[in-house]
C-alpha cells in the first residue's frame, strides 16, 4: 500500500497540474473557495480520483468538503482504502 507521504505528494502533484496557473496551493488550501479549481474541473477531479485510486465519490463526499483540499483528499483515499481492507 502506498505510504502516506508518497500519497500526499502524488495528490499534490496531480492538483498542481489541474489548478489555474499562478494559483498558490498548499495542503490546506480550499481548492474551490480559492478559485484554484474552476467550474469545468470539478468532474475532472472526481474522475481522476475514482480512476486512479478506485474511490467512489458520493454527493456527501463532494458537498461535505471531502475533496476540498489536498489534506481532505488524502484523508478520503485512506479512509476508503481502510474500509476496503477491512
Amino acid at each position: 500500500m502506498m505510504r502516506l507521504d508518497s500519497l500526499r505528494v502524488e495528490v499534490r502533484r496531480y492538483l498542481t497540474t489541474l489548478v489555474e496557473r499562478g494559483s498558490t496551493l498548499d495542503d490546506h488550501t480550499d481548492l474551490f473557495a480559492s478559485g484554484a479549481v474552476k467550474s469545468m474541473q470539478v468532474l475532472e477531479l472526481v474522475n481522476h480520483l475514482e480512476d486512479h485510486y478506485g474511490l467512489l465519490v458520493s454527493q456527501r463526499d463532494l458537498f461535505g468538503g471531502r475533496l476540498r483540499s489536498v489534506d481532505a483528499i488524502v484523508e478520503l483515499v485512506l479512509e476508503q482504502r481502510m474500509k476496503k481492507a477491512s
Binding site: T24, F32, G35, L43, V46, Q59
Partner: protein, 404 residues
C-alpha cells in the same frame, strides 16, 4: 438503444433513463430541446420502462441514425450531469391564500391577450401589456429601496471581450442568438436589393455575403453593465437597475410567458466588496419574498443551477452548488407546476477580473497589483413569468384582479 421506426412519433429505449428522478427527467426534457432539429416535442419520458417518446419531423430525421445517436448522447450526458446535484429542500416557501386558478386560466389569458408572432415571440395586448408594466413598477420599487441607479442598456452585446473571458459561449451555446448584417459594399448591397425585390426574399439567401457582426442578442441585461464599468475604480458599493429585453433560444420548448425567445428582464446589478454584494443580494431576496407575499403568489426559494449546455453541465452544476452562488424564487402555476421567476446570483470576481473593475484602496489586494478587485452579484426578475404566476393565481379576467 435501438434505432427508431420513423414516423410522426418514435419510441426509443434508453437504459440511462432507468430509475431517473423527477428532477433528472425535467433536466433531460430540457436538454433534448437542443438534441436534434427533427425533434418537435418530447411527449413522454418513462423511467420505469427506460423509454422516451418523441414527436419528430420524418423529413428532417432521415433514416433516424443520427437522431438516435444524438438522443443517446444527450440522455447519457444529461443523466450523468445530475450525479452531483442533490435534492435539497426549499429554503423558504409559502402557499397562496386560495386555490390557484392554474394553467387553464393561463391558457385563457394568453389566448385573449397575447398574439403569436413567430417562434418564442408574442405581442402583449391591452391588459397583458398593462400587467407587465405594473409588475415592472413593483419590481422597480424594490430596486429603489437599495438606491439602485436606473440605467438603460442596448439589447445587443459585442461579444469580443466578456464572453470569451467568462466562457459563456461554451457553457450556454444553445441559448445564443448571433447577429449578422450585409457587408457595406455597394455592389453586393445592390445585388441583394435586386434579388429581394425580384424574388420577394423573406430572409437573405446564401450566399449573399452575410458577415458576423460580432454581437449577440443579450441573454442577460447585466452583461452590458459590467462592460460599461470596464476599468472602473469605485470608492463604494454601487447598485444599478435596468429593464431590458433578453434573448434565449429554446429549441422546440417555447411557451407564451413562460419560455420566450425574447422576454423582459429587470435586473439589479451589485458591484462592491464581497460583504456589500452579499448583504444587498440578501436584501433583494427578502424584498422579493415580500412582493410574492403581497401579491399572494405561491412561492419557494431554492438553491439552483443554471441551464448549462449538457456536455459541460455536470461539472458546472456541481461547482455552482459547491459555491451556493445561485438562489431562485419559483412561483407556483398550479399544484404541480412552478416557474423560476427571479434569480439571485453571486459572481465573486467572475466579471471584475476580465474587466479590471476595482476599488480604490490597496488594503484588500489578493495577490494582484493595485486596488483590490471588486465582486459582483445580480438579481433578475423575468417579468413575463411573474405575469404567468399572477394570472395563475388571480385568473384570466382582469376585472377580478386585485390592484397592483
Amino acid at each position: 438503444m435501438t434505432a427508431p421506426e420513423l414516423s410522426e412519433h418514435v419510441t426509443l429505449r434508453c437504459a440511462r433513463l432507468s430509475g431517473a428522478s423527477a428532477a433528472v427527467l425535467a433536466g433531460v426534457r430540457a436538454d433534448l430541446a437542443f438534441c436534434h432539429p427533427a425533434i418537435r416535442e418530447v411527449t413522454r419520458l418513462d423511467p420505469d420502462s427506460a423509454t422516451l417518446e418523441l414527436a419528430v419531423d420524418p423529413a428532417v430525421a432521415g433514416d433516424g441514425a443520427d437522431l438516435t445517436q444524438q438522443v443517446q448522447a444527450v440522455v447519457g450526458a444529461s443523466v450523468a450531469s445530475y450525479r452531483f446535484v442533490p435534492q435539497t429542500p426549499a429554503l423558504w416557501q409559502r402557499t397562496a391564500g386560495a386555490a390557484l386558478a392554474g394553467l387553464p386560466a393561463l391558457a385563457a389569458f394568453t389566448s385573449r391577450f397575447l398574439r403569436p408572432l413567430g417562434p418564442g415571440q408574442w405581442a402583449l395586448v391591452g391588459p397583458a401589456a398593462r400587467l407587465r408594466a405594473a409588475l415592472d413598477a413593483r419590481v422597480s420599487a424594490l430596486a429603489a429601496q437599495i438606491d439602485a441607479e436606473p440605467w438603460h442598456l442596448p439589447s445587443i452585446e459585442m461579444a469580443a471581450d466578456l464572453l470569451p473571458a467568462t466562457g459563456y459561449l461554451s457553457s450556454h451555446p444553445q441559448h445564443v442568438t448571433f447577429g449578422y448584417h450585409l457587408p457595406p459594399h455597394f455592389a453586393q448591397l445592390r445585388d441583394f436589393a435586386a434579388k429581394a425585390r425580384s424574388e420577394a426574399l423573406a430572409v437573405p439567401a446564401d450566399p449573399c455575403g452575410l458577415q458576423p457582426t460580432g454581437f449577440i442578442l443579450e441573454p442577460f441585461v447585466c452583461h452590458n453593465v459590467y462592460r460599461a464599468l470596464r476599468g472602473a475604480r469605485l470608492a463604494s458599493g454601487q447598485a444599478i437597475t435596468a429593464l431590458g429585453n433578453a434573448y434565449r433560444y429554446e429549441g422546440h420548448r417555447f411557451e407564451p410567458l413562460l419560455r420566450q425567445w425574447e422576454f423582459s428582464m429587470r435586473e439589479v446589478v451589485l458591484v462592491g466588496s464581497a460583504e456589500y454584494v452579499a448583504r444587498q443580494r440578501q436584501r433583494m431576496v427578502e424584498l422579493t419574498q415580500g412582493l410574492a407575499e403581497d401579491l399572494d403568489l405561491a412561492a419557494s426559494l431554492e438553491i439552483a443551477t443554471d441551464p448549462f449546455f449538457v456536455s459541460e453541465a455536470g461539472s458546472a452544476r456541481a461547482f455552482q452548488l459547491l459555491q451556493s452562488t445561485k438562489l431562485e424564487l419559483r412561483l407556483g402555476l398550479d399544484e404541480r407546476h412552478a416557474t423560476a421567476a427571479a434569480s439571485f446570483n453571486l459572481h465573486a470576481r467572475h466579471f471584475t477580473t476580465p474587466l479590471d473593475i476595482r476599488g480604490v484602496s490597496d488594503g484588500d489586494a489578493r495577490g494582484a497589483s493595485g486596488p483590490e478587485l471588486l465582486e459582483t452579484a445580480c438579481v433578475g426578475w423575468g417579468l413575463e413569468r411573474w405575469m404567468a404566476a399572477f394570472v395563475a393565481r388571480w385568473g384570466a379576467e382582469p376585472a377580478d384582479w386585485p390592484g397592483l
